[in-house]
Structure formats: C-alpha cells, structure tokens
C-alpha cells in the first residue's frame, strides 16, 4: 500500500513536472520565431511647445568630461528653465546593453563610443528629422558613423582628427624639418634621416595594444576614404588601400624605424622623453601626453596634419570619437534632444563644452566639435597649448578635421574583429606575417566567426 501510493504519487508528480516544464519552456525565453524583418524605426520629433518641461536622465562616463557636461547644465537651463537634468555618472559599457535589452530604467540620453552606436540601433530613436537642419554642416565622417541603413541614430559629439605629433626640438637638432612632410613616403625619409643622426632612435610609433592599433588602422584607412565595413556591413579589408597601409607599417617595422609600445605605457613614455620616438601619428587626444605626462619634453612637441597617402590626398582621418544616443524607451527623449541640440549646435552650448571652464582652464583641447560652424579655424574655442610650444592646436585640428573624408558606418562586429585583425596586425609587427597574409587571414576569420553568424 505504502509503495503503490508512492508510485502513484511519483508518476503523478512526474507528469505534472513534465507539463510544467513544457509550459515553462515555451513561456520562458526570448520570442522565438522566424527571423523577422526589422521593425520600422521610429523617427524622433522635436518638442514644439514654447517652454517644454519635464525631467531627463542623462548618462555620462565618470571623469573630467562628466564635470564638463555637468557645468553646462546651468547654461542649458538658461534657455530651457523648465527642464530638469538628472545627470548621472554610469559605467556605460557595463550597463547600457542590459538596460536597453530589458527596458529597465532606461535613460533619456546616453554618451556612447561611435564604435558602439551601430550595435544598439534597434533601441534608439531615428534622428534623421531632428538633425535635418544641421546635417549639412556636420563633419561627414561623424554623420556616416552614426548612419545606419534606415536612419541616423546618434548626435555626433566630438571629431577626433588624426594628427602627426612630432618632437620639433629633437628633429630640428638632428637637422630634420618635419614641416616639409607631405606624404607617408616623406615621413619614412624623415625617419631615416633622423635615425642617421640619432642611431638609437626608432622614430615612428607603432602601437602594440591590439584595439588601439586597429583604431589607428582605421584612421589611416579613413584618409583613403575606406573603412573595415561598408554601408551594407560587408567586409572590405581585402583592398588596395589596406594593403598600402599595412605595407607602410611593415616597412617601418622592417627597417627598424618603429618604437613598438602600448599607448602611454611606461616604455612608450620613456622613449618619447628620451628622444628615441619623435613621430606619433595619432588622434588629437594624444595632446594629453605632452601636457601631463612628458615633463622633460613638454614644449618640444608640435602637431601638424597627417601626411597623405598620395600627394594631394586627405591629410587626416578620424580616430575614435563619441556621440549621444536617445533610447526609444526613455521617457523624455525628445527633451533630451533639446539638451544635446543645445550642447552641439548652439553657440552658448559648444562654447561651454570646449571653452575654458573650471576643469580645463585653457579649454578642452583633446577633441574638436563635429559641427563645422563651431569648428571654425579662425575662432578657437580652446586656447593655445603651452606644452606644444604655444601652438594654436585649434587651427591645426580644425583644418585637418575639414579634410576628413566620409567613411562607412562602424559595423557591429568591429570590436569583435580585434581578436582577428587586431592580433594579426600585431603578428605582422612581430615579423610572423606579411601584409597579404594579414588581410587574407583576418578576412576569412572575421567573415566566418563574426559576419556569417550575425
């Protein structure tokens, strides 16, 4: 009796469990169906009231930039007194994806690396309409990285033009005039000449961190009007442009003309200070180094446009940069639009961001606005940079920025590609691969592991 009853109970329990499991299995989990076409993107409309009111939550990364934006809020409220800005410092990389996917506590506006915008377009407002009055005046490269097939998803923030930083004092002492450099071939010649004068020198910086090296690669590619992914998200690594760039880097390496180090690591800084490393083709934000980290050579450094790949070619490409995105699930994203519109396109706004403030008494000089009227070479927002010998960095950067060609949007798999292209590039610099191998290997791996599995 005892046994039978147990057996019955057990069977019943098993049956119930099975039913429960089936129900659970079908109920728990993401919506599974046939691959759906992407839903129509929703296009954001600007608020039309006289004085819109409400509260907006804005996410920014912790740091000096946070304080800069914080200080702009007062100015913003002068124009829109009824909008309360709840400005929060957040670990955006850790939190944003989960927040958007689960729709929990979604902010109204978020600061985001350009490289990540394309990953989230499904969650963001299409800004084509609200940006329309301004888009003709925005740097083409920034607009392109924020544009997906079906709309524009980010408000471009900073343009980070690539520049050639060089140690003028050391070069002049060695009899090399860097200002004569116009092409990368010229740069090679200058490096060779410098090395003759200073035998221990490895004049040109070669980046050792895979991610940054890939970012720098894209800067070079941007100059040539290309990028890893085209508008359709197809890989175009296998091209003469990338071949040319990789060959250049390979040459620098083979001839012993390059210092291989991670950006601003102790080795990097050491070699910058002792005159062995005198050419640093990098985004404008390298300016941080002479100002803060290179006390011995502070004042020796200058910035100029990048060399071109061919005579007459573009003398700058973008490296890095961020934008602002507006999640569709945000409560008052249209008000957040007003905030960013003010910051980016209103003179009071962009002067507050780039101009002198309590955090940067000389102004924010690690980037320039992507809004061309704000980036007028003749009207600097930040002051001359002492660490660059009092150079008018603004003029150099904005002129360079104006030359940046449009490239493609940054594909969603760009970050993942570092495992393949980033590493293969480093292998090439180790001497294990040649440029053609880098291209064929990376293309195959990116295609198989990233693109095909999208």
């Amino acid at each position: 009796m005892h046994l039978t009853r147990t057996a019955t109970v057990r069977t019943a329990a098993a049956g119930a469990a099975a039913v429960l499991a089936t129900v659970a299995l079908t109920a728990c989990g993401p919506d599974i169906s046939a691959p759906a076409e992407s839903s129509d993107p929703n296009v954001l409309q600007a608020p039309t009231e006289e004085s819109p009111s409400g509260e907006i939550t804005i996410w920014d990364r912790e740091g000096d930039l946070f304080t800069v934006f914080e200080n702009t809020i007062a100015k913003f409220n002068e124009k829109y007194p009824d909008i309360t800005v709840n400005h929060v410092a957040v670990d955006i990389d850790a939190k944003l994806q989960n927040t958007l996917i689960t729709g929990t506590d979604v902010p109204d506006g978020v600061f985001l690396d350009d490289a990540r915008v394309s990953s989230f377009t499904d969650f963001l407002w299409d800004l084509s309409d609200v940006l329309e009055p301004y888009s003709a005046d925005i740097a083409p490269q920034k607009l392109a990285v924020n544009t997906a097939a079906d709309g524009i998803y980010g408000i471009p923030f900073d343009l980070d033009p690539g520049l050639l930083y060089y140690n003028e004092a050391a070069l002049t002492k060695a009899g090399v005039d860097a200002t004569q450099i116009e092409t990368y071939d010229d740069l090679l010649d200058a490096a060779r000449a410098y090395q003759e004068a200073v035998p221990s020198a490895r004049p040109i910086h070669l980046e050792q961190a895979p991610f940054l090296a890939q970012l720098q690669l894209e800067m070079y590619a941007n100059q040539l009007g290309t990028s890893l992914g085209d508008e359709a998200g197809e890989l175009r690594l296998d091209s003469p442009e990338y071949e040319q760039i990789l060959t250049f880097l390979d040459t620098v390496n083979d001839e012993g003309l390059g210092t291989r180090a991670e950006y601003l690591s102790p080795t990097d800084i050491g070699e910058l200070e002792n005159g062995n490393q005198v050419f640093y083709p990098w985004a404008i934000w390298f300016s941080f180094a002479p100002q803060q980290l290179l006390p011995e050579t502070s004042g020796d450094w200058r910035a100029m446009e990048l060399p071109a790949w061919e005579t007459g070619g573009a003398r700058s490409g973008a490296m890095g940069g961020s934008s602002f995105v507006l999640p569709k699930d945000g409560e008052n994203s249209d008000l957040a639009w007003l905030f960013y519109e003010f910051l980016m396109f209103d003179e009071a706004g962009y002067s507050a961001v780039w101009g002198p403030n309590e955090v940067y008494p000389n102004g924010l000089n690690t980037s320039i606005p992507s809004y061309l009227p704000a980036a007028d070479p003749a009207t600097p927002l930040f002051g001359e940079v002492e660490a660059l010998g009092g150079q008018d960095l603004w003029e150099v950067a904005t002129s360079a920025g104006a030359e940046i060609p449009a490239a493609g949007p940054i594909p969603t798999w760009w970050g993942g590609a570092v495992d393949y292209l980033g590493n293969d590039l480093q292998r090439m610099l180790d001497g294990d691969l040649d440029p053609a191998e880098v291209i064929s290997q990376s293309t195959e791996q990116i295609q198989t592991n990233l693109i095909d599995r999208q």
Partner: protein
Amino acid sequence: MTAVTAHSAPTPRRRRLSGARVRRLSAPYVFVLPFVAIFLAFSVYPLIYTFRLSFTNWRGSGAAEWVGLGNYSYLLTSPQFWSSIGNSTVLWLLIVPIQLVIGVVIAVLLNSATLKFRGMYRIAYIVPFVTPLVAIAQIWIVLFDQGYGAVNAVLGLFGIPEVGWLTTTMWAKPTLALLFLWKTTGFIVIILLSGLQSIDGSIYEAAAIDGASRPRQLWSITVPLLRRTIMFCVVLQTLAVFQMFAEPYVMTQGGPYNSTTTAGYYLYNHITRADLGTGAANSFLLVILVLALSLGFVRLLRAKD
C-alpha cells in the same frame, strides 16, 4: 572532543509514525526549504530562459532565430573555444597546485597559538581579495612593463635580460596566474584554516611524543586530515579558474594573441558583443566541463583512501 558512550538503541517501534519520526523525516525538507524557495523564485526562470536562449541566435532585440544545436556545434568546432579551454587548463596547472601548497603552509603557520601578530597576518592575507581589481591591475601593468617596470629592473641587476611579461605569449599566462594567486590565496587560507582548527591538537602531542618532527607531522597527519578540505578547495578553484574573466579583462584584454583568453573571458565576449545565444550555449558547456572535472577530482582523491 570526548568520546561518546554509545547508548543502546531503544527497540524500534512498529509502523506508528511518532512525532519525533515525523519531525525527523520532515526536518531536512524544512531546512532546505529557504534555499529551494529562493532557487525557485529567482533561479528557475533565468535557467530555463538561458537554456532556451542557447538554441537561438539572438542579438538582444526583436525575435530570436531558432538555430537548434547550431551554437553548440559552432563552439565545439571552434578553435577559439578550445584554445580558451586550453588556456584555462594551463592556468589551472599554474595556479591550483601552487596555491594549495602555499595555502596549507600558511594555514598551518597561522594556526599556531604562539605566533605573534597572528591576527594581523590573517587580515593582511585577505586584503588582496577585497581590493578593487582595476586598481591592482594598474600596478601589475606598471610593475611588469617590459622596458621600464620594476621587475625587469630587478632582474637587470642580476644580469637577466628584460622579459615581456605581459606582451609575450610565453609569460602572459604566468603573470596572470600570479595576479590570480595574489588575489585569491587568502580566501583559500581561510577555508584551510577552518579545516585545521577542527583537528584535535592531541594528535600532534601524541605524535610529538613519538618523536615525529614538525614537518613530518605536517605531511603525515595534517595533510591527510585536511584531505576533504583540500579537495573542496580544488573543486572551488577549478570553478574559479575556468570562470575567470575580470583579471584578463583589466590586465591583458585576453591577449597577447588570445593567450590569456580564459574560458570565462571567451564567454564574456559573447555577451558583450550581444551574441547572447552563443553565450548561453557556452555557459552550459562550461558547466558540464567543470562538473566533469570536479567529479573527476572527487573520485581521484577518494580513490586514494
């Protein structure tokens, strides 16, 4: 502990379920009920969800595309997946044996009643665990810098050429292992110490009388008695080593050349790149792997008896 004199068992009562018996039979259920309740409330839904997810290709938005075993077969045939398992295995070999040996030695030393500053040592050894990893990674990167780091500077004093600790595939794993050892050994010492403190001291007295030296006591008495605790630590750290992702993330980003891409870091990448289905599949594969390894250890160490 004093020996317990055995009471003679009372004559078993027939079939009547006495109150005591009911309490005894129901007690374990009551005791585990809180855990079960929390598990049912907060773990079942995520588990089933993730399980279901592992059979799909989902990027976080819209509908998920059913791919059946596609994610699993991708992973099991992916060189990157296996190399991440291989990396974790090598790290395991670098970490676990050393950590247990050092851990036991430290625990034994700290267990001594006569050791001065015992409390200070105990606290000091657990500080690494609670220090934010990112702060520590900074110093590791600086200390082990190839050209200008202190470690190479010291080696240079002995005429040893500089080593690319974090930039060569040969040395990145040991350097990472060192970081992990630094961070977690204190945790293991606490567990071992608790195990030690349950051992009756009179055994040592008897052994000392018999003329056994301290090291011999350690080897022949302490270690065998600690066997179960040590086994527990092995299982725990096996799990930790394979799941490790924060350390490679802040220090090497899985490099150089994915040599420090641990199983956990490889998994983490799927999630951050919104390849959620593959991430789910990956995590289940990892569970199976760790479970198999743990059972293997348990069986191994038990067989020695």
